[in-house]
Symmetry: C2
Subunit: 340 residues, 2 copies
């Protein structure tokens, strides 16, 4: 891999791979008849979100109000917040956002739904269902249907359908049961998650919309899950070998403030592409410890590219993404939905 | 703990505790005869660094050139970069920094030292020693002394002494041996680390300078190490309970993008002060999973304060720090040395 004239550590996006990832998934959604609603938490970058919409996405998914505001600022007119919005300040922001975009939010609690009734006209509400992940969401189809009916009968709220994340075995049956039981018109049944995205067709005809985020970049986790190969990985962290203190040990200038401490099913903290048999065994904040395999040689000053365990936390650690095309630098994009 | 009119998640600094932490450690350094050189990586905030200098710090320690530039911009005239500076772009930045501050860098490699010879006049070089941590640094006192002599005899370089991190048993003997063997005038022998800081007196008379970072805020890790009590913790993450999907489970809006995935000797991802027997068992990016202990009750909408496992990665995830004094909001400080 050619060295880039780049100060390290730096996140680097391969534009050809990014384009390929975005196009391939949109094509699959079109084939399956899914509305695609990419999750922008992965890149927090309006340029990429606009490209996703241009390719055919129905809108975007935003994990925070700051992301949603950045998307609206960039002209994206349809945003989903897939979880409870709680607190007076957040409700105020949500109200302001409603004037600028079609907004859908998911809820799992009647009290939270009631809090949304005064936010403003045009807000659509989905019922969040816990179909096995064990995070938020109502626990049974009965409760999902009950909450749906409560929303539909509350002035100021517009019921839109159901939402889950991810969609483990049983999710389709859960969601179908909720749809049947509620007896309401259901516009949207939304599922998501990159690791299982190529199997999403099995969720038809119940599910109508799919939310994927990591697919834009991929990472060690989605490669381990079989959703991509290493050749699809569009985001790497460029680092420099800064110390070779002992035989078998190299220190790079990418630590937990560049890669995060997120783990995945593979050992270590990332894959060093120039030393694939070696292991990134430990991170301090600005140091990565590489335990060198026999034959892997990393001299001081050598630039390396690291595939992170989890792409979505990497972009969030930087203010901009360096771009490469055909191995050469091709500008930078701001991570402009970060820190808002 | 009173609720703050604050959008969550948000890092909150208790100003009285911060002041107490800074003053107490500076007083101890003064008693021990150590130069105190606080590590700014913990807060990345020039206001706090200026306070540290005002209290008597000899200068600051910066893990990145961006931090060092921010400190120089704020008028801090003495900065240490405690590791190899490698790469043409970084050397250019270092050269520009030299015009604005007294700069010391540590090296563990003759080739890296040679790269510094053309950076400019006035750069002081310390030899980084690995006294047991197993990261970077020369591995023996013999090599430390040899590198010291090589630096002292290179035109354009000024030898200043030795540096290590942390300072485990044996560090003092290692450093004393290096000082003896080099036969040079040694201005500075620098050690560091918050967990063992209250035992730093044992490093005298060899060690002359101490670098602590986390002591400004403390966290679950330094409390677990016995360097502080929970009443000393000056940085918490304010979060809101956003979902109570099942009995025994509460979801807060602080996940790995607010707390990081860093672990410590205590179980879980942080301590929820309002539910101290409960466990923050898992983080997604914007969600924390609290497994509630019997008797701990966290209703939707409740604001909580979480002691993070590792303070130094938390400030880096935000653009500003909210301030409280006597339980009330008292403004905000920018994390102005972040992302540069």
């Amino acid at each position: 891999m050619s060295e880039l004239d780049l100060e390290t550590p730096a996140p680097v996006v391969d534009l050809d791979r990014l384009d390929r990832n975005l196009e391939r998934w949109q094509r699959r959604c079109d084939e399956l008849g899914f509305a695609s609603r990419p999750h922008v938490k992965t890149h927090k970058c309006t340029v990429i979100a606009l490209r996703q919409v241009e390719l055919g996405a129905a809108g975007v998914t935003c994990q925070t109000l700051g992301e949603a505001e950045a998307m609206a600022d960039a002209g994206i007119g349809d945003v989903l917040l897939p979880g409870n919005v709680v607190g007076a300040r957040k409700l105020e922001r949500l109200s302001r956002l409603l004037g600028r975009a079609r907004v859908t939010v998911a809820v799992d609690d009647e009290r939270v739904a009631e809090g949304l009734a005064d936010v403003g006209d045009g807000l659509t509400i989905l019922v969040e269902c816990d179909t096995g992940h064990g995070r938020s969401g109502v626990q049974t189809p009965q409760r999902a249907a009950g909450l749906a009916k409560a929303i539909a009968s509350t002035d100021g709220l517009r019921f839109g359908g159901f939402l889950t994340y991810p969609a483990p075995p049983g999710a389709r049956a859960f969601l179908a049961d909720a749809v049947d039981r509620c007896g309401l018109e259901v516009e949207t049944v939304s599922a998501g998650g990159t690791p299982a995205m190529w199997d999403a067709g099995e969720l038809r005809p119940v599910v109508t919309e799919y939310r994927a985020g990591t697919y834009a970049f991929h990472d060690r986790a989605t490669v381990a899950a079989g959703a991509a190969t290493l050749d699809d990985v569009a985001l790497t962290v460029c680092a420099t070998v800064v110390s070779r203190p002992a035989p078998g040990r190299a220190i790079v200038d990418a630590g937990s403030k560049a890669l995060s401490s997120d783990r995945c099913a593979e050992p270590g903290h990332g894959l060093v592409l120039e030393a694939p048999s070696s292991r990134l065994v430990r991170l301090d904040e600005e140091h990565g410890y590489v335990e060198l395999a026999d034959g892997d040689e990393l001299d001081v000053g050598r630039q390396v590219r690291i595939v992170p365990n989890h792409a979505c936390v990497v972009a969030n650690l930087f203010s901009s993404l360096a771009l490469v095309r055909d191995g050469a630098l091709a500008g930078a994009w701001a991570v402009d939905a970060r820190g808002r």
